[in-house]
Amino acid sequence: MRISQIVGTAGVPVAALGAAFGAAAIVVLVSGGSPMESFAAMFSSAFGSGTAVGETLVKSIPLMLTGLAVALGLRAGLFNIGAEGQLLVGALAAAWVGFALDLPAVIHIPLCLAAGVAGGALWAFLPGLLKAKRGVHEVITTIMLNHVAFYLTHFLVTTRLKDVHTMAPQTPEMHATARLGWLIEAGGLHWGILVAALCVVAFAFLMARSVIGFELKAVGFSPDAARTAGINVSGMIVLAMVLSGALAGAAGAVEVMGVHHKFYDQFSPGYGFDSIAVALLGNNTAVGTALAAVLFGALRNGALGMQLATDTPKEIVTLIQAIVIVFAGMRFLKNRVPGTRGSRDPGLRADTQGRADAANP
């Protein structure tokens, strides 16, 4: 990759960030605060100390995994909005294996992770199957399954899987053998960061070098050409959804195994939703998504510190995220609307583009 290409690829995300912070600065200024002071406070509580960095990274782990989940779907032309639901199901599955079974750690930890992965994959399998066999749009089904996941997990942690020793809607504590220990004590940075990093590498390899990645992307860019080339398009759609769900499930598993050590109702502050913005900002690439996840983790982590140190409310961070999404989303839309000039972004389906090109002289 040449320098110009890197600049070209990074240009939009950087511009989106610039605009977002600019707009936030104006809002802070208008409401009588000092933007520089606020942003400085945010930065220092996100990166100012070892503990701060650790906390930022902890918050970025689930964003990284769910971000990869969304990015993988988009590469195959699928918009998986159900990462949140898949994360919840994965988290509950991992928590259940964690408290219900008594096993040595060498088996227990992988088994918990596997349960989370399987739960997420299962939750995404159904939309994948419906899309592949009946053409049901995955956006609709994944959104609806999010709701099913909220209420199903809520139901289970208030009834069958409830910890009887407390009033709170939560599962019993997971056994110590099912918990991810600290990699670094500062900020509680647990081994989950390694899981996330491995997934980033695996994602990059899958997309760049593997036959499966080649076929997934072909399906995403041009289902017609993929089918003609003998690629099993339905199979690839199901596979992409399952892999996407597996990543989101892993996010849930890692979060309960490394941070909460139990599943409690509404433990996720919307990681699965933020992940859409993370993937868009990261341009659906492995490294981009990882960087965007760290950024969003830092925003989340820095927000509270900023509110404490200055009078700027932490909600300003939500504003920044929203503007980033608008910018990243504009590019996404541009690629989907026929007749507009397509860019070279990976992962945005170009089937309309082919037709538009054919129509042009």
């Binding site: 593997s210 860019f221 041009s222 003609t228 003998g230 099993n232 397509g342 170009a350 042009n360 002289p361």
Partner: protein
């Protein structure tokens, strides 16, 4: 009759990224004449006419209508100036009736409502005047291609077009339908209209036009009176110094022996669930080219898709003695069937993938391009360079996305990729659509080469000249059935034309 030209375009220049489509072109057409604008694909004919119709803005040059300079502001303005254009791809609303399509956007209004009665009266008057016969109340979706074309012409006439541009109007018609179209157009010219015909079919030009303008590589090469020139001279002007199409080498008659492909009672559903192919049976032998002639939309595409596995079908398709109808596309590819789809930009190539990636697409799963599920990028690159060299794809870089290739180069890449696999059976659908003479010839040579190697070829084409120059036998399809099977010796334009219209042999 008015002596000032109806249209006069001076020094028109228009560039697109990487190509100068029109290079200081002078063009003029008179009232009362049928003017042919000819040239190979990519010569700039359509661009020039799109400029006249206001779809493109020229970089330089001016346009005069009846001697008055006009600034073309867009199609709306062009229509107001009396210009009508019938595009190659019709722009009709399929769910509307013919009448509704004709008046769409220019409805006569009475008390705030569309006055259908007045509209119909007007449209009928136009039909009678020029001998146009269309069922105005039929839904456009149910009309034949030639009737849809008439609706397009009516649209222009209804808007009082006096200058009518037709872009390749005969490419979708049978010989008989062409004759009636030209009779109608001549009538319009006689009434004083200016008819501009974009085409590359010299026979039509010689038979129907009054004057000809020849474009080559974006330049106006000649403006001639039709009766002072010959088809040979026009062909030479169109292609320049390049060698003209060679006559195909004589090949032996279809070899006997067991058929390579035996299709028995094959029925294929169309997109709307109706039977697009209706229990047909035929055979293709090794080393034979079976031409499939017919007007577009008579089941050819569905037949091709059923043979390669892209469409479900009922009946029997035996390839080398095995029934392949239940096999996936992938297994059929692996068994030695290759497919060159009609729209290679959409079906043949992943346009966002690089030339390199497209070169291996379809063969990417196994040796030598992948091992243990991991792609070998170097092998892909070597292969792409090899293909580029062998079939003459003009690509600056193998890493460049395929969407930046021209139509001809895309087609060559798809064909070259198919031929590289040394297929036993090649199903080629319109392999030279949109290609210029030189590129088409390369494609034809490729097909003949595959055939000489012992492969069987099913060549689907709407271009009779292509069928006649390549096919050993000609199968004519009409409404999903085989209207006739004619040997190379007996195939002539009249017989095939009649079969294309549904006459039984």
């Amino acid at each position: 009759m008015d002596v000032t030209p109806a249209v006069e375009m001076r020094q028109i220049t228009k560039g697109f990224p990487g190509v100068l489509a029109n290079d200081r072109i002078d063009f003029s057409a008179n009232w009362g004449e049928m003017h042919a604008l000819i040239g190979e694909n990519g010569a700039g004919k359509t661009t020039l006419m799109n400029i006249l119709y206001g779809l493109h803005r020229p970089d330089a040059g001016e346009t005069l209508l009846s001697g008055r300079a006009v600034k073309a502001l867009g199609p709306r303005h062009a229509i107001a100036c009396g210009i009508g254009m019938v595009h190659q791809h019709f722009m009709l609303v399929p769910a509307f009736s013919a009448l509704e399509n004709v008046i769409l956007g220019a409805e006569p209004v009475r008390f705030g409502q569309t006055d259908y009665r007045r509209a119909e009266e007007r449209v009928r008057a136009i039909c009678e005047r020029f001998g146009l016969q269309v069922d105005l109340h039929a839904k456009v979706a149910d009309l034949s291609v030639s009737a849809q074309q008439k609706v397009e012409i009516l649209k222009a006439l209804y808007r009082e077009a006096r200058i009518l541009i037709l872009d390749e109007p005969t490419s979708v018609l049978t010989p008989q339908e062409c004759d009636s179209l030209f009779a109608m157009l001549r009538e319009m010219a006689r009434s004083g209209m200016c008819i501009i015909l974009i085409t590359h079919k010299l026979r039509e030009v010689m038979a129907n036009s009054d004057r000809v303008t020849v474009l080559r590589q974006g330049r106006a090469i000649a403006g001639l009176e039709t009766n002072s020139t010959t088809a040979e001279e026009l062909a030479r002007l169109m292609v320049g110094e390049r060698e003209l199409v060679r006559p195909p080498e004589e090949r032996e008659a279809s070899p006997a022996g067991p058929p390579l492909l035996a299709v028995i009672n094959l029925s294929v559903p169309g997109d709307r669930g109706l039977r697009a192919v209706d229990s047909i049976s035929f055979q293709v032998h090794a080393g034979e080219i079976l031409g499939v002639a017919g007007v577009d939309g008579n089941g050819q595409r569905e037949l091709a898709e059923a043979l390669v596995g892209l469409r479900r079908a009922a009946g029997n398709v035996e390839f080398e003695g095995r029934n392949i109808l239940r096999m996936s596309v992938r297994r059929r590819l692996d068994a030695g069937i290759a497919y060159v789809p009609e729209d290679s930009g959409r079906y043949g190539l992943v346009s966002s993938y690089s030339v390199e990636e497209n070169a291996i697409l379809g063969a990417h799963r196994g040796s030598p391009f992948a091992r243990w599920g991991i792609l070998d990028r170097h092998a892909a690159r070597r292969h792409a360079l090899n293909l580029i060299e062998r079939v003459g794809v003009r690509a600056a870089e193998t890493r460049m996305p395929a969407r930046f290739l021209s139509g001809g180069n895309r087609q060559k890449l798809v064909l070259g990729r198919a031929l590289y696999r040394k297929p036993k059976l090649l199903v080629a659908s319109q392999p030279t659509r949109g290609l210029d003479v030189g590129a088409a010839q390369d494609v034809h040579l490729g097909l003949l080469e595959a055939c000489a190697r012992g492969g069987g070829i099913l060549l689907i084409s709407y271009d009779l000249d292509e069928i006649f120059s390549l096919a050993d036998r000609v199968m004519v399809m009409f409404q999903g059935r085989i209207a006739g099977m004619v040997g190379r010796a007996e195939a002539d334009r009249e017989t095939i034309g009649a079969l294309m219209l549904g006459a039984r042999s």
